[in-house]
């Protein structure tokens, strides 16, 4: 089976300084990939390279190729806007836009103008998939800023799902959340992988061990090792991976 993402020799520079160096990785479809490593190892840079969000920083430069379903997303004529609809992203800090819950979720689909007839349906489906529907179904038109942190983060997930993407990228989504909210999000992700490819950056190795199918370990801008979660966590090939997982550093 062809991988969803086929990454070859990916390097990312900011103002000539390399933040990510020569990454080769295949990301299987419909699985959860856990991206682990200490802070500053390039995990977020890697994630943002998959939906070309790095380009928003001035002075960024990318080498290598990232093939999504066989097409290089860095090709000059590739539709960036469409890419970001196909590859959705949830950030570390929940950023609810200052609008109603309903408007937050439907923001993405509204941009392209289609789906006007199924907006209500889309909002409900997305909120259900994010495990938030029951808690907000009676107050969809109230401001999203009134939600708790955990609820806002699930809202961000629902917002991304409303675009009906194929891939979901999550950058340490549970870092600011309490254990119950974290559990809810992990539960949602585990169900979501049936329909989406999930790539999850996390500082929490236990979380990666809990829910991911495959894992990739980054250290100082390089991909050290990647493979099934079981293998990485029980019999890592590289001693650095072993050191990180057993908590010797990071």
């Amino acid at each position: 089976m062809d991988p969803k993402f086929d990454i070859q020799g990916l390097s990312v520079y900011f103002n000539r300084v390399p933040y990510l160096w020569s990454v080769h990785l295949g990301v299987p479809a419909n699985r959860i990939l856990g991206v682990i490593g200490p802070s500053g190892s390039g995990k977020t840079t890697f994630l943002r390279a998959l939906n070309r969000m790095n380009e928003l920083e001035p002075g960024s430069h990318v080498e290598g190729s990232v093939l999504l379903d066989g097409q290089d997303i860095y090709h000059p004529r590739y539709d960036v806007v469409g890419l970001r609809k196909k590859v959705g992203m949830v950030f570390a800090l929940p950023v609810a836009l200052p609008m109603s819950i309903y408007d937050n979720v439907i923001y993405g689909p509204r941009l392209s103008g289609n789906q006007r007839h199924r907006q209500d349906e889309l909002v409900e489906i997305s909120l259900r998939e994010a495990f938030l529907w029951d808690e907000v179904k009676d107050r969809l038109k109230t401001s999203a800023l009134r939600l708790s942190g955990g609820q806002q983060q699930r809202l961000c997930l629902a917002r991304t799902l409303a675009l009906e993407p194929e891939v979901i990228l999550l950058d340490e989504p549970c870092s600011g959340l309490d254990p119950i909210s974290t559990a809810k999000i992990e539960e949602a992700l585990t169900l979501l992988k049936e329909r989406y490819t999930v790539i999850l950056v996390t500082n929490n190795t236990k979380q990666a061990a809990r829910i991911s199918d495959n894992a990739a370990f980054f250290l100082m801008g390089e991909l050290v090792e990647a493979g099934s979660t079981e293998k990485i966590f029980t019999m890592p090939g590289d001693h650095r991976t072993n050191d990180y997982i057993t908590g010797r550093f990071g």
């Binding site: 939906n51 969000m53 928003l56 001035p58 806007v81 469409g82 890419l83 970001r84 609809k85 959705g88 992203m89 950030f91 800090l93 950023v95 836009l97 200052p98 923001y107 993405g108 941009l111 392209s112 961000c156 917002r159 991304t160 675009l163």
Partner: protein, 278 residues
């Protein structure tokens, strides 16, 4: 003989405090004086009837209309230009020679005295473009004058929108223009409106520019090409020609109240924005 520090401290407090109080007292006196002499003249009749006998009697209705039409016209033109400039500087470029040039132009424009605007408006709109002394000439000239104010306040308002909002919008597949329209501008709106109000306040009190571009007709304007007199101009003429001190005070009081009200509104809005942010 060195003066002990505690003495200089007390001395400084006293001197500086007196200076401050003097300042405030003078400014308060000015407003108080105008209101005291002018409020008795103010009445609904005064505001809504036409002047008679060159302003010796009657009211100031046409001037009220003029004082409203001119700022409205000015703001209508200056706001899209000002907000557009602010959006461009913040969202569409980085700091470069181009942006520095644009800022230099804006700063210089801000420093030009009103009499020069009056001259320009006269030679360009009234004469060269054959618009004559008219609301149109006045409004267009005033628009140039308040443009820097609107650019500055709009830029600050747009810059204050959190970066994360833009990031989220992009990550959901929005284009830059969509992000500006749907996320940045709605959030920057209160700040932008503050700038608009400041521009309105400035237009209301402008005299030199208006005399040279909109003329000083006492008649109620019926079209944009009609000449009109604003309250500030009316006050000036009444006072200098000695036509009617009473009506002058009344006009001044109306002016002061109007300008203060607009300024207060602008500051209240700005405070609400600051509060929401923190």
């Amino acid at each position: 003989m060195r003066i002990p520090p505690r003495l200089t401290q007390a001395g400084a407090f006293f001197i500086l405090g007196s200076a401050t109080l003097l300042t405030l007292a003078v400014l308060a006196f000015i407003i108080g004086f105008v209101l005291q002499k002018g409020l008795p003249v103010l009445s609904l009749r005064f505001l809504f009837t036409n002047p008679q006998d060159m302003g010796r009697a009657g009211g100031i209705f046409p001037m009220l209309v003029g004082s409203v039409l001119l700022p409205v016209l000015a703001v209508t033109l200056a706001t899209p230009l000002g907000v557009g400039t602010a959006v461009f500087l913040t969202e569409y470029t980085r700091e470069s020679r181009v942006t520095r040039l644009i800022r230099f132009g804006t700063d210089c424009l801000a420093g030009i005295p009103s009499i020069i605007f009056g001259l320009f408006g006269f030679i360009f709109f009234v004469t060269t473009l054959h618009l004559g002394w008219s609301i149109l000439s006045g409004g267009l000239t005033l628009a140039f004058m308040i443009l820097p104010t609107i650019i500055r306040t709009s830029e600050e308002a747009v810059k204050a929108v959190p970066k994360s909002f833009r990031e989220v919008s992009f990550s959901l597949g929005a284009t830059r223009w969509q992000t500006v329209r749907k996320v940045v501008l709605p959030n920057a709106l209160p700040g932008i409106v503050t700038g608009i109000m400041l521009g309105v306040a400035r237009s209301i009190e402008e005299t030199a520019v208006v005399i040279f571009t909109a003329g000083s007709s006492l008649r109620l304007p019926t079209s944009l090409l009609d000449s009109t007199r604003t309250m500030a101009v009316h006050f000036y003429i009444l006072a200098r020609e000695g036509i009617s001190t009473e009506n002058a005070y009344g006009t001044a009081a109306t002016l002061v109240i109007l300008v203060l009200a607009v300024n207060l509104l602008a500051y209240w809005l700005m405070n609400r924005v600051m509060a929401k942010r923190s």
